[in-house]
């Protein structure tokens, strides 16, 4: 079984098929307006989620331009920032997520080599 929290190198690489992780993924994408980077980040995130956790994720896009207070509350500096709120622990992934390899590492879907 390929469990995201305890994935091994072998099956993580061979994880193109939809799996059934025990947790629900709760993700937040912080953006500041509709910048090309934000749009790209959302597109990349959607693709990765559909690939690795279909039907088990929830993406909330927060536009800090609308609500700058949340930047302080959630300790956001870089834009765009993806925050994995669930499963614990909290993880932050910054950038437009175009480096899929590192995004997966950041989401702990793949071990750091």
């Amino acid at each position: 079984m390929n469990v995201p929290m305890a994935n091994s190198k072998g099956n993580a690489q061979a994880a193109p098929q939809p799996q059934t992780p025990p947790e629900q993924w709760e993700l937040r994408l912080y953006t500041a307006g509709h910048t090309p980077k934000s749009v790209l980040a959302f597109k990349n995130l959607k693709r990765i989620c559909d690939e690795h956790m279909p039907g088990q994720y929830h993406i909330e896009v927060i536009d800090l331009m609308q609500n700058p207070r949340l930047a302080k509350e959630d300790q956001i500096i870089a834009i765009p920032t993806l925050v994995r709120r669930l499963p614990a622990p909290l993880r932050k992934i910054i950038g437009d997520l175009s480096d899929e390899e590192r995004t997966l590492v950041g989401l702990q879907l793949r071990p750091r080599n």
């Binding site: 700058p68 930047a71 300790q75 993880r91 950041g106």
Partner: protein, 582 residues
């Protein structure tokens, strides 16, 4: 091009920074930090970022916080602070000891804080990004209180949180541009780098004003220093200024008002020794600097105690800074020579502050004196001795500190007495600390060895602006204080001690001899006068008896004449004829 003030040399001009006129056209924001505004000629450049750099523990954060808090409290300028290292609570706690109630100011909307926490371990970089979040948070903090002042402490922490240097640097450049556009006066702190002002080369971005803080330890004593490395578009003091952090925040100690423009008084104040007053033609000038130097045991402290006593006797306040003896020891010792200092301590006219010179660094001492003077407002300050300060710092530093201290006291019109212990080997006419040229009145106490004795001598080596005796006086410490003796100049110079006593005895004997001769002569004359008077009386008697004789003879003659007439009348009657008329 940074515009630096011309480099000036020498202590006389070192303080010109405080006299610099504010550059026209460059508005400044006063920091409210004591001394810093003097160095910078009015404060930090308004609406521009200023970089404050220095190594760990040199006071960067405190300077930034004081800038913010004083802005909010003294200048009505709200402030925003973005901290990268400490949380708001930690910062508030750190500055509470300085009397800054940050939490209350946050509650009043005078200050806004945001703690930015960056931990590389939590962050995965996956492509292009920017730091818009930082801008948003800073903007929010600024807007929430209408901040005019901004502190970023320490923005270099970002460099450890992100690995994409290209992004970081371009974002920092954008940030400082953005701060300028916002029109806020910003203080950005940064860690000192190896051979560079900051570790990450922030001086590239913040080039309007750069202040460098330094914390040096020399011979176990630490000294904090501040230097304005550059200040675009304005002249500024280029020297290193010592500063200190105490319970009232930061104080930078510029060499104040060495323009030598302080007012002078021609009023004389007593030295406490009447005959010394006479030697100086009335005493010291009020507000002058007096140096008393001498070898060990020559009576320097006693001279100081006399001045203290005289000051208090006039009802004025005297501050006695003792660096060798404790208060009680001074009081006890001076009691033995008839000076009762305890009464002045009780009355609050005298204050004796005893401390070891090595207790603090020089700057702390200087600041301590500044504070005591501000609190106690003394008319006279005595520093006993100044020679010890060389143990509290580098020699040149000690001299510079004394210079500042003398200047400070002089500009406040305080009569100051500095006691200098001359080492046995050094020249008497030199001070270890090299301040003699700044002194108005210089009294030297020296030992005079003659006739197998060691006696104390006093002379006035100089006294500006007054006629003073050029004589060496013997100086006795008696149960009634200092007594200056008359001068006896013999073939070998001034006679002191027993030699003087012998000379005095000889003179007394000679005087007695003269007195005796005079008395004899007087007696002789008296006798002769008595003889003459006796003769006068005898002659007078003789004259009287001659007179009597004469009168008796005249009476006899008249009686005989009368008898003859009567006889002739009777004979004529007998002849019966008419008396013959004749």
């Amino acid at each position: 091009m940074p515009h630096d003030a011309p480099v000036r040399c020498g202590p006389e001009t070192a303080g010109a920074a405080s006299d610099l006129p504010p550059a026209p056209g460059l508005p400044k924001t006063p920091t409210g930090i004591r001394g810093l505004d003097e160095i910078t000629g009015g404060g930090l450049p308004r609406g521009r970022p200023t970089l404050v750099c220095g190594s760990a523990g040199c006071g960067k954060t405190l300077l930034a916080m004081e800038f913010l808090v004083r802005g909010a409290t003294q200048y009505g300028e709200p402030g925003a602070c973005i901290t990268f290292e400490e949380t708001e609570a930690e910062l508030a706690q750190n500055v509470r000891s300085l009397g800054f109630d940050v939490e209350a100011m946050v509650a009043d909307n005078r200050l806004a804080f945001d703690h930015i926490h960056v931990d590389k371990r939590e962050i995965e970089e996956t492509g292009e990004y920017d730091l818009e979040g930082l801008f948003l948070r800073l903007g929010l903090a600024i807007d929430s209180v209408g901040a005019k002042r901004v502190v970023l402490d320490t923005i270099e922490s970002l460099f450890s949180g992100f690995s994409n240097m290209a992004v970081l640097r371009s974002e920092l450049r954008r940030l400082f541009r953005w701060l300028k556009d916002k029109g806020v006066t910003a203080v950005i702190t940064a860690e000192r780098g190896d051979g560079t002002l900051t570790r990450q080369g922030l001086e590239e971005y913040v080039s309007d004003c750069v202040i460098l803080l330094d914390h040096r330890v020399h011979e176990q004593l630490s000294t904090r220093r501040m230097r304005v490395v550059k200040y675009r578009g304005t002249s500024h003091g280029t020297n290193e200024y010592p500063f200190l952090i105490d319970e009232q925040g930061i104080s930078v100690l510029p060499v104040t008002s060495l323009g030598l423009s302080h007012r002078v008084s021609s009023e004389r104040v007593s030295t406490g020794v009447p005959r010394l007053d006479a030697m100086l033609g009335g005493g010291y000038y009020r507000g002058s600097s007096v140096l008393v130097s001498g070898t060990a045991g020559s009576g320097k402290s006693t001279m100081s105690a006399h001045l203290a006593d005289a000051t208090c006797r006039r009802g004025e306040r005297c501050l006695y800074l003792a660096f060798e003896e404790s208060r009680d020891q001074i009081v006890r010792n001076m009691r033995s020579i008839g000076l009762e200092l305890q009464q002045w301590l009780v009355e609050g006219l005298l204050r004796i502050e005893s401390s070891r010179p090595t207790l603090h660094g020089l700057e702390m001492h200087l600041a301590h004196v500044h504070r005591l003077v501000a609190q106690f407002k003394p008319h006279t300050v005595i520093i006993d001795p100044i020679s010890n300060f060389t143990t509290a710092g580098v020699h040149s530093d000690a001299a510079a500190m004394m210079l500042r201290l003398m200047d400070f006291l002089k500009s406040n019109g305080i009569t100051a007495m500095f006691v200098n212990l001359t080492s046995g080997t050094g020249a008497l006419e030199a001070t270890d600390i090299g301040v003699s040229s700044l002194i108005d009145t210089w009294i030297i106490l020296r030992d005079i060895e003659a006739g197998g004795e060691r006696n104390r001598g006093l002379y006035v080596i100089k006294s500006r602006g007054m006629k003073h005796s050029n004589q060496i006086r013997e100086f006795l410490i008696t149960a009634n204080g200092i007594d200056l003796q008359d001068v006896y100049v013999g073939p070998e110079g001034v006679l002191t001690g027993s030699l003087r006593a012998a000379q005095e005895a000889r003179e007394r004997a000679a005087a007695a001899m003269r007195e005796h001769e005079m008395q004899q002569r007087q007696a002789d004359l008296d006798r002769r006068r008595a003889v003459l008077q006796a003769q006068i009386i005898a002659l007078q008697h003789e004259a009287k008896s001659v007179e009597h004789e004469l009168q008796a003879e005249r009476a006899q003659y008249e009686a005989e004449s009368r008898t003859l007439e009567e006889q002739r009348l009777a004979a004529a009657l007998r002849r019966g004829g008419e008396p013959v008329g004749t």
